[in-house]
Symmetry: C2
Subunit: 337 residues, 2 copies
């Protein structure tokens, strides 16, 4: 049983901790953060072992009655692998420390590929991550791109893909800090960074993206124009997408007409925070015209990377060397089917 | 001097009336509507001749002190051509009347192509509209598509175009009636209607669109992937766009980073309502990769059809048989350069 440390108990860290907790082949060694407010109280409620990232944080935690198990070094000493979910500035420093001490680690998509030299997306390249010292789980948007294009590529259908990414303005729990309002804000450069980022996992993908921020906080939405290698039927394309257990085909005509309705359905399903680990792709909107394919989908920018992170832990620690088995195990534990 | 009647003094009608007023080769015969509130007071302030669409409306107008010149038949009797800017349900009935009476008329993009059998976009097909009895000025989104793709086509660069259209939720002056909030709502079908609509003007265009509503009211934004007929330089593409006087190349790096900043610039310029008659296309974002072209632009859904409507009046009445001259004259009158 491998011991997992979660450093940074924010929007990703709290989800990773919960996901680790429900695996039967790994143990949550503890979580580490600097806050002593409502955010860390969630870990207190769940009975997680709490470590303080700094001496000051430790004192503040103790002052509000939190039982602090130790400092970050104490946690790292107990861990076989660290999942670093801290903001970029902090994780960059942390990574130096992990490397010096020879600690296995996983970083999130905000980091550069060069930080680890390996970027991870379970259905695409699980095998290449086995027993590595570190990897980077790519960002939410990039994960969705890799899942969908990998499915098309594996079916021998993908020639090249061009996507327009409508990005949500800000995380919902931070929207009081200011997001955009009644406007749209393009990313300065075309191609936007997500296309090249997908190539850090699979250099063979011919993918170009453009991205724009829109004034909503629920999730991202992608529109894709894909050139197929041949004329194909809609069924051939759908069958390709169905090979991925993490693409959920949804029906516009069954009332799933927008981000907010999709969010409500996942809340109905009882998922924590209404989390959508899958790419929700509209089956009835999807259109094939000759050798061209058009489709749109929704991406939960907080949840989609969680199953990927669990798989990355299995790959790096060598708990499981069969990617398909890890994916299947993770799916079952998180209610993905 | 031809006499122009504007039926329907709403968001388009009030702009058409003002634009007619500043032409030196046409005369505003009057405007006709059913409202007697703040909306028609704008026409009162400007000294336009006001006609009542129904007897009840006439009584209400008189009751609030508006000097009513007559009913709709009185206005039509004075007009050489009607620009119908009423909502779709009403314009459909009106059109039957114009046809019975042999009155020349122009409808807006909400109508079907079949209503007139001719759809209009000045830079593409002015000539084919000369002395026709009726035409339809295509919608804001379709107008922007035609301007940009016509420029590329005329330069021999266009193979085919695939666009993602981010549509504003509702008209700003009607947003209290409800628009979408913190979500995005795709149009059910791909292709969305704008691509086929552009083909109603130019059947040769190979264009496919997908559209999604976003929660803002300022303007639309389009992202395009265009396959060129050959490898081209960025300058070749920019030179093609520069052949259109109604495409305004803008710089992201000069602070024009969003719909709202662009809107403020047009308000700064003193345009009525901050109207943007041009397609505002980001020059520095535009990217050519081999024989593929990527760009984004913003469309003012109230203003862009106004110069088109003025040109359509000239074409149908035969005031001007040279499209380029009409476009140039309209541009000058509205401050487009």
């Amino acid at each position: 049983m491998k011991n997992i440390a979660v450093i940074g108990y924010g929007v990703i860290g709290k989800r990773v901790a919960d996901a680790v907790k429900v695996q039967d082949d790994m143990n949550l060694a503890g979580v580490c953060d600097v806050v002593s407010d409502w955010r860390i109280q969630n870990a207190v409620r769940k009975g997680y072992s709490i470590y303080a990232a700094t001496p000051e944080a430790g004192n503040e935690m103790k002052a509000v009655g939190i039982s602090v198990k130790g400092n970050v070094q104490d946690l790292l000493a107990k861990a076989d692998i660290v999942v670093d979910c801290t903001p970029k500035k902090i994780s960059t420093k942390n990574v130096e420390y992990y490397k010096q001490k020879g600690i296995k680690f996983i970083v999130q998509g905000g980091e550069k590929h060069e930080t680890t030299g390996h970027s991870f997306s379970a259905e695409n390249n699980y095998k290449s991550a086995i027993n590595l010292n570190s990897t980077r789980v790519v960002s939410c948007n990039t994960t969705s791109i890799l899942r969908t294009l990998t499915a098309l590529k594996s079916a021998g259908l993908l020639d090249y893909a061009r996507g327009t990414l409508l990005r949500r303005a800000t995380d919902p729990w931070e929207s009081h800090l200011g997001g955009i309002m009644n406007t749209m804000v393009p990313e300065r450069d075309i191609p936007s960074h997500q296309g090249p980022d997908a190539q850090s996992v699979d250099p063979d993908l011919d993918v170009i993206t453009a991205a724009v921020k829109v004034p909503e906080t629920l999730s991202h939405m992608h529109y894709w124009n894909v050139k197929l290698k041949k004329h194909a039927t809609k069924d051939e394309v759908l069958n390709a997408f169905k090979t991925s257990s993490r693409i959920k085909l949804i029906q516009y005509d069954q009332g799933l007409v927008s981000n907010n309705t999709i969010k409500e359905m996942f809340l109905d399903m009882g998922r924590p925070w209404g989390d959508m680990y899958e790419v929700a792709l509209w089956e009835d909107m999807l259109k094939v015209v000759g050798d061209e394919l058009f489709y749109a989908y929704v991406v939960d920018n907080q949840a989609i990377v969680i199953p990927e992170t669990i798989d990355a832990i299995r790959a790096l620690t060598g708990i499981e060397t069969d990617g398909a088995k890890s994916i299947s195990k993770t799916n079952e534990s998180l209610g993905i089917n």
